[in-house]
Amino acid sequence: MGSDLFEISVNIGKMLGIFLLMVQMVPLLVWVERRGSAFIQNRFGPNRVGPLGLTQLLADAVKFLFKEEFRPPASVAFLYYAAPVLALIPGALAFASIPLAPPFEVTFNGQTYKFLFQVFDLGIGIVFVLGISSLGAYALLFAGWGSGNKYSLMGALRASAQMISYELALGLSLVGILLIFGTFSFSEMVEMQRGPLSFTFLGQPTTISFLPNWGIFYQPLGFILFFAATFAETNRAPFDLPEAEAELVAGYHTEYGGLKMLMFYIGEYGHMMVASALATTFYFGGYELPFGSESLQQSFSPLAYSFILFGCFLTKVLVFLWIFIWVRWTLPRFRYDQLMDLGWKTMLPWALFNTVLTAVVVVLFHSSGS
């Protein structure tokens, strides 16, 4: 955590800040989602409360806060109340391990401190995020079984079966990116994606100066598979089978209302943010600017430069979040057997093919010595 009071307090402040960033993103995203869906469907959306309907979120929050507290008697109290809390934790922990900007140095009381622009760096980034997000199934199972409602249980079982099925495709699509970068650490990956596209082709160093050195150019298929699998992982449309209202009412949160419902939403949007941040980090250069980072670095102080790169990261993440919303209001929902077929019979083989292909290509590109 730190050696003295200043370092500890900055670290805790950073932790709270990053967590609140995730939580505060939710009302904004809900607004974007409602206005965006209205735009796509040629409606108006919420536009009465405040400019562009922006304060609608505040009104909604107050409404959620004053909803009646209700617990169905058939439910199991501990599981019923623990589930929404548990829905927050994996997203928050995963988001906290992603670097949002390069580390920055602060001088205080004549001492220089170095702070990471992330809550903690384990050095095994990817595996930690996969491990933590695999705990996300428990919030669903707690909610489903604890509610004492058969629709909840069915929704939870569907959701967790779907999550674990797509976790395979997700995990396998990342093997390609590991083969390219050869590291688990997010910050090392981002470092490698700095500068123009450069690689060794048959022993010849090659540089393509008009493209940034982003992972997407090495792993186009991997990116498509990864991004599609994250849609299923976050239970978003077109994979929002657990909430198929025609069949299952509202899935695992049928019996939830008020703030507890909102917490599931925070969890869902948190997962979306984690997925977007991961896609950015793996395939789109993380916080690195595509061009002109040298001149910017010289004209700003290191702290300001860190914040500029943080803005760059946030922009990329927001683009991905908009894609999430855009897809939700554009594509129809899958049927459950189609969903499972897609995960097991289409994406898993393609991800395997991607792995083998990448391995062959890496051998071809790097076997200069032999």
Partner: protein, 174 residues
């Protein structure tokens, strides 16, 4: 200081969860306690400077095996077992507990013996023995045949379970 906190917090979670597993009458709650145990063990692995193994523990046990356990318990739709969660037979149960106690005493004494003899062991925290790259190098050179046999095992297991479940041709055998 950090390692003291890590050790006590996670070993408390681990042992509490283990107690819940063997004492709670409801199998679902037992499974949930086991989840806590798995997370606690992952934390202990963190404390032992093995974050990769901790993450594997989280992914495989907490993320996969326990989900399977919960699915099965939910399929079974088991009711609480009531007071009789242990096998009947007071004499045999007493014998079992006695045997368990004797085994615990044996373990404890051997650990104490170990500490008295090797108490000076201090880990080299900078040593790279748990770097994933080192693990991988050993695994793919020294243990390569074990690794391939594991692949064979992982081929046989799903075939066996699917054959056991007899689902050829649909859920409710048409």
């Amino acid at each position: 200081m950090a390692e003291v906190v890590i050790f006590y917090v996670f070993s408390a979670v681990t042992l509490f969860g283990a107690l819940g597993v063997i004492l709670h009458p409801n199998p679902i709650i037992c499974a949930l306690h086991l989840v806590a145990t798995m997370c606690g063990i992952a934390g202990l692995f963190f404390g032992l400077n093995a974050p990769f193994i901790a993450a594997v523990q989280l992914m495989v046990y907490a993320g996969a095996v326990m989900v399977l356990f919960l699915f099965v318990v939910m399929i079974f739709n088991l009711k609480q077992e009531g007071k009789h969660i242990f096998s009947p037979g007071q004499f045999t149960n007493g014998l079992k507990v006695l045997f368990g106690g004797m085994f615990a005493g044996l373990l404890l004494s051997s650990i104490l013996f170990k500490i008295n003899n090797f108490g000076y062991l201090t880990p080299d925290k900078a040593a790279p023995q748990f770097e994933v790259k080192n693990i991988a190098k050993v695994m793919f050179t020294d243990y390569v045949f074990s690794f391939e046999i594991l692949g064979l095992l992982l081929l046989v297991i799903p075939i066996g379970t699917v054959a056991l479940s007899r689902v050829r041709g649909g859920t409710h055998a048409k």
